[in-house]
Amino acid sequence: MKVHPGHEITSLQYIFLLTGVQVGVAVLSLPRKLAETAGTDGWISILVWWLVSMLASLIIVQIMKNSPRGSLPDWAAEVLGVWAGKTIALLLTLYFCVLLYDGLTKSVLITKTWLLPNTPAYVITVLLLLPTYMIARHGPRIVGRYCELIVYLSLWIPLVYLLPLKQAHFIHLLPVVKDGWQPILTGAKEMIYPTLGMAATFVLYPYLKHKEKATAAVIASSSLTMLTYLFMTLICLVYYSPDEIAEYNNPVISVLKSIEFRFIERIEVPFIAFYLTIFSLVWIPTMYLATFCSSWLFARKDIRGQLQILCILIALATYFYTPTLYQNLMMEKILIGFGLSVEYIFPLILLSFIVLYNRLRRRNC
């Protein structure tokens, strides 16, 4: 599928899209996971994994430089044959579907815990899928614009997170590197899940308006992601006692409960309602990406048909079966394995293959 004019996305949209898919729902539980393994030094793990994820996203961009006018399946079909293209398209479809389903069920579970405990999950799912369909069907440019808009609308959120600092104990962070580097490096593996989403480049690269800025854009996006994580994790670490933080499933939400205003009680309620838009930065782009890949697989020009099928399938699936909290955690584990192979290992192998292939071809010429 070649790129049509009028579908290009700007660098800024690309940055926000990648960051949105990564941050989305993953940020909520991150401080707890880091505290469980690395204690109050968890924030250093973020910095460690920052380098790794930046390297991985640079590798992905390096791969896509070979295919400026088509997505990864296009490139594979051209160079390795149709079946290689189809395999990669199927792999990416599956991967984006898992990412999408995980993000969506997490959002539904959070909505159910905090806002609507008695409403059936499928009603919430259907209500969330409607705007998803309306945005995703318009293609990358509208999805990109949506991400940009939501990021601008959420710029005030960090300010609110400064309020709990009144009860903060910065002394929790001392001493830095408490128990040596071992727990910090172990904690870094918790960062795999929150960095998933870089694979979007495989599809979005040909749509970039300024491809020469792609490298700078992925560096900016991974830095933005890490800054967000660092900020939220530090707030939670200084607010909660190190002996207690592991008790909260989603410390990023729980920390809001302590904020008191004269005019509103339970401030976390409007927050979670607003957070749904941020969570949507996970499933709206991945929904587009998944249907893009599946349309490629079935050689359809228009993604709309695939999108409708996917939406109806998800709605039906949640009607008959809603994952419980533990099943969702299981799914997260599967996703971590899947994501590690698709976003970290697979690109590395692919890049070494491309380098070898190019060298061989040059020699043959």
Binding site: L116, H172, L174
Partner: protein
């Protein structure tokens, strides 16, 4: 055409879905009954008792609040009894204060009874936890005609008292932190009923498990807040100056000051197999009351170290009290963890024993900033 039909169909399906199934979370305000205070106590047979106080919004009813009580095994289980006695469905979403009776504080681990407050995401966690000297029923059923509703009265009293540091302001969330934090012990506000009126009497200090340990008066509470670096400028302390004459029934040897600048520095070290905390208090104050004759221009240089000595003595006495009860409401454990981590790690599970064994060195630096408009 087909597109329009499809979107119309979607809208119809959605409307049906939301109206038929999702009303389960709906609660009309007139059907809700929102207690503003909850009290926990034990009766003579050590059975768990709960009390709630709900405001009544009605013109024709003279009494503005409804008190509900009963015995139950847990707080969640008490919901049925609450519903049975109130006009609407009882909601735990607006508690302002959480009262804990004296009999509860004689037992350990009562804080686990509060699990519902944290586990049900819809409950507030900013309710102030208050210890009652006496029974909760006494205070809940008091209803003096000349005072505002109990929850509002209590919350107001705690807010103003803790604003001037005369008690602590421990929310349920904060209590949970102090309970789980290994390096400190909890402290909560304390009230009692005296001559048919409610008054704040200072701070209740709890053992690590939540059992009652000791009480602090107003001035000691201020010092506790100063040590925790929680006290804001404006706190007022009074001391008797030794050697000054008293005339008649009047304490004419007293001097009072308002702290304008407060700084607490705690230096942590580990010497001779015990922790040592060097506490340095810096107070710059305005004298607000001097009841003995004084020529301030000449005497203030002499007065400063005398007041400093009084502050030091009281602080040291308070620290001794903490040590004899094996409690650490200040949270010296946090300092120990930050600066002597290797040593702290060994004793963190029985930190209160370590604090009883620790040594404290208090130094107070007191400066008089101003003496007011009269000499």
């Amino acid at each position: 055409m087909k597109q329009r039909l499809l979107s119309a169909l979607t809208i119809v399906v959605l409307v049906c879905l939301t109206t038929t199934t999702s009303c389960q979370d709906q609660l009309n305000l007139e059907d809700a009954s929102t207690p503003l205070a909850i009290g926990l106590d034990l009766n003579e047979d050590n059975q768990f008792e709960f009390y709630t106080s709900t405001p009544i919004f009605s013109k024709n009813i003279k009494k503005k609040s409804l008190e509900i009580s009963g015995t139950a095994r847990t707080l969640r289980q008490s919901r049925a009894l609450q519903n049975a006695q109130s006009p609407g469905s009882a909601q735990g979403r607006n508690y302002q204060v959480l009262l804990v009776g004296k009999r509860i504080l004689q037992h350990e681990d009562w804080i686990t009874m509060l699990d519902i407050i944290f586990r049900d995401a819809r409950n507030t966690v900013t309710d102030r936890v208050i210890a009652v000297e006496g029974s909760v029923s006494e205070i809940m059923l008091l209803n003096p005609p000349d005072q505002p509703m109990l929850p509002i009265l209590l919350r107001g009293m705690i807010n103003t008292s803790s604003g001037s540091s005369e008690t602590v302001s421990t929310t349920a969330q904060e209590l949970r932190r102090q309970y789980y934090e290994k390096g400190m012990t909890p402290s909560i506000s304390q009230v009692k009923v005296k001559d048919n009126s409610v008054l704040v009497t200072g701070t209740t200090l709890l053992h690590k498990g939540g059992k009652f340990a000791a009480s602090l008066g107003y001035q000691e509470s201020i010092l506790l807040n100063i040590l925790q670096n929680n006290a804001r400028s404006g706190v007022s302390l009074s001391y008797a100056i030794p050697g000054k004459p008293q005339t008649g029934p009047f304490h004419t040897d007293m001097i009072s000051f308002t702290a304008q600048k407060l700084a607490t520095k705690i230096k942590t070290s580990y010497k001779r197999s015990r922790f040592q905390f060097d506490i340095k208090l810096k107070i710059a104050a305005a004298l607000t009351e001097i009841l003995f004759p004084l020529t301030i221009q000449q005497d203030y240089k002499k007065l400063e170290p005398i007041i400093a000595e009084q502050v030091k003595l009281q602080t040291e006495a308070m620290l001794k009290k903490f040590q004899s009860h094996k409690i650490d409401p200040v949270g010296f454990g946090l300092n120990a963890r930050a600066y002597q981590y290797q040593q702290y790690k060994k004793v963190q599970d029985h930190w209160t024993d370590a604090i009883a064994d620790a040594s404290f060195h208090v130094t107070v630096e007191f400066t008089i900033n101003s003496i007011g408009p009269i000499k």
